[in-house]
Amino acid sequence: MTGTTLPGSTRRLPGRRATRRPGTSTTGRVVRLVVAALVGLAFIAPLYWVFVTSTLNTSQAYSFSWASLVPHPNFSNYDRAWHMAPWERFFTNTIFIAVCTVVLALLTSLLAGFAFSVMRFRGRGALFGLVLSVMMVPQSVLLIPDYIIAQHLHLLNTYWIQILPFGASVFGIFLVRQFFLNVPKELFEAAELDGCGPLRILFWVGLPMVRPALLVLGLNVLMGSWNAFLWPYVMTSSNAVRPIEVGLSVFSSTNGTDYTGLCASVSFTTIPVLVVFLLLQKQFITGAFSAAGGVRG
């Protein structure tokens, strides 16, 4: 991790004094940087520790020593853990579910967000209020009735029950709507006068304008899908359709004493998430702002 090399870089700082805010002392700045580095390291240390444990053999893992603070070139735990559960299946299921959910959620949000912002129709305000009210219902309230409904629709233990309920997103509709509200009306009016229909206006004029919103939304839905646990855990019972986190949870309850194997499986299921995060940090932060700020685009 990059964090490990960071404290050393504080030494170069006095040379950059001119760019700093006036009125703060050099010692103050150095102390602040050291504390910042320590806080940052504290947050990633647990993940580092599990990664290190995943490369130790059993006796090293059970008896702490300074040598067990650095990773060893030993991947036997990965090899063992990988063969103890159908991980390929779990990964494939997760990716399939996540991609379908993202595509569906993008499509429904784009259409509804466009209609709720640019188009005019009777009942627009009331329907939009209805959409907002959906946001208030916590997932644990829906678990019981959705389980019964899924049972009746024969959707239990399928991909569908893991995709469809998340195929529409209040956050997504809100985000897309907010973006469209910021696009100058004249653009749509011009297309309208040229005789374009609503669908053409949406895809030719609107879509290019809201691409950043779609990226943020797609990422949000993707992560939600990858990290989902309670819902798929209750709604599915067979490994054939279960996603990665449910697989990991079941794996941990049946192999709870194989700590090194467990650490390996935690590592190989979490590293993909971390890679996506490190590559797309900016979008994640925008996503956090818009998810929280509710909504100001």
Partner: protein
């Protein structure tokens, strides 16, 4: 005038708008709106999940049982446990996140790396990271107790202790959420007026006075908002409880109890009543948040 009258039918007034909002509305109706009403319906029954036609209408008895504390575990114990968790998260979360945000608000590569590091836990899947912390807080081999041993302290078996299980879950949840809250607060800090703090400096305020009289009042809407979303999200927390304690050792919160009553002991009607109680609490908080959002803009 005659030009306006001959204008072609406006695309943006087309009733196609209804088809645009339909897919999202159908999904919300089938998986959220109808199920919410269904939950209220189920909560009035002694529900038989194996044979629904054998369910008996019992009016408000499930609610009466809950509020009279007659179920096992008692609703009031569950409420107390939830309150313990929610209050701890809502007091410590925004407070620590504020400190982190103030520490990391400066520019520079180290600062930005530290911000990334604190935000990183928030994107990791909770099943995986709960396992990470279970390994660290393992009574026999965990890092926490190995470190305590160096200081001659024999650490407890953290997650199997009535005293320590909840504090550990709170600690882990804070680790997961702090970065997210800090990002929101950082957003608030960047939009603050720098003129005011310049003026304060001219008037001879020290850093602490500037924070109390200038920064904090401007941050108040953001902090209030962060408190509301922390309350809602900690009321709904489930995965860390399921993974780390299975609701044992004084950690059975309302959300965990809904799952347990419905899907482990099959007291579906009672679980539905608990779900409605949770829904009411969440709805009140969501409306509060919405109103706050309105006044903030």
């Amino acid at each position: 005038m005659s030009v306006a009258a001959r204008r072609p039918r406006r695309a943006m007034n087309s009733p196609i708008a209804y088809f645009f909002v339909l897919p999202a509305l159908v999904i919300f109706f089938v998986f959220t709106i109808a199920p919410t009403l269904y939950t209220a319906f189920i909560s009035l029954f002694n529900w038989n999940p194996l044979n629904i036609s054998q369910s008996k209408f019992i009016g408000l008895s499930n609610y009466k049982n809950a509020f009279a504390g007659q179920a096992n575990p008692s609703f009031w114990d569950t409420a107390k446990t939830s309150a313990y968790f929610v209050v701890a998260m809502v007091v410590l979360g925004p407070l620590l996140a504020l400190l982190i945000a103030l520490l990391l608000q400066r520019g520079g590569r180290l600062m930005s790396a530290a911000r990334t590091a604190t935000f990183l836990p928030n994107v990791t899947p909770l099943v995986a990271t709960s396992l990470v912390w279970m390994w660290i807080f393992n009574g026999q081999f965990g890092l926490a107790n190995q470190v305590l041993k160096v200081f001659g302290i024999g650490g407890p078996n953290w997650l199997e202790s009535n005293t320590w299980a909840m504090p550990v879950v709170i600690f882990v949840s804070l680790w997961h959420e702090l970065g997210f809250i800090a990002i929101i607060i950082l957003g608030g800090l960047t939009t603050m007026s720098s003129e005011l703090s310049e003026a304060a400096k001219v008037d001879g305020c020290n850093v602490f006075q500037e924070f109390i009289h200038i920064t904090l009042p401007q941050l108040r809407p953001v902090m209030f908002f962060v408190v509301v979303i922390s309350t809602i999200s900690s009321l709904q927390a489930f995965t860390q409880f399921y993974t780390m304690t299975q609701g044992n050792f004084g950690t059975s919160t309302l959300s965990y109890e809904i799952y347990y009553q419905a899907f482990v002991v099959y007291h579906t009607g009672y679980a539905a009543a608990l779900a409605i109680v949770l829904l009411v609490i969440t709805a009140v908080l969501s409306i509060l948040q919405f109103v706050l959002n309105r006044t903030r803009d």
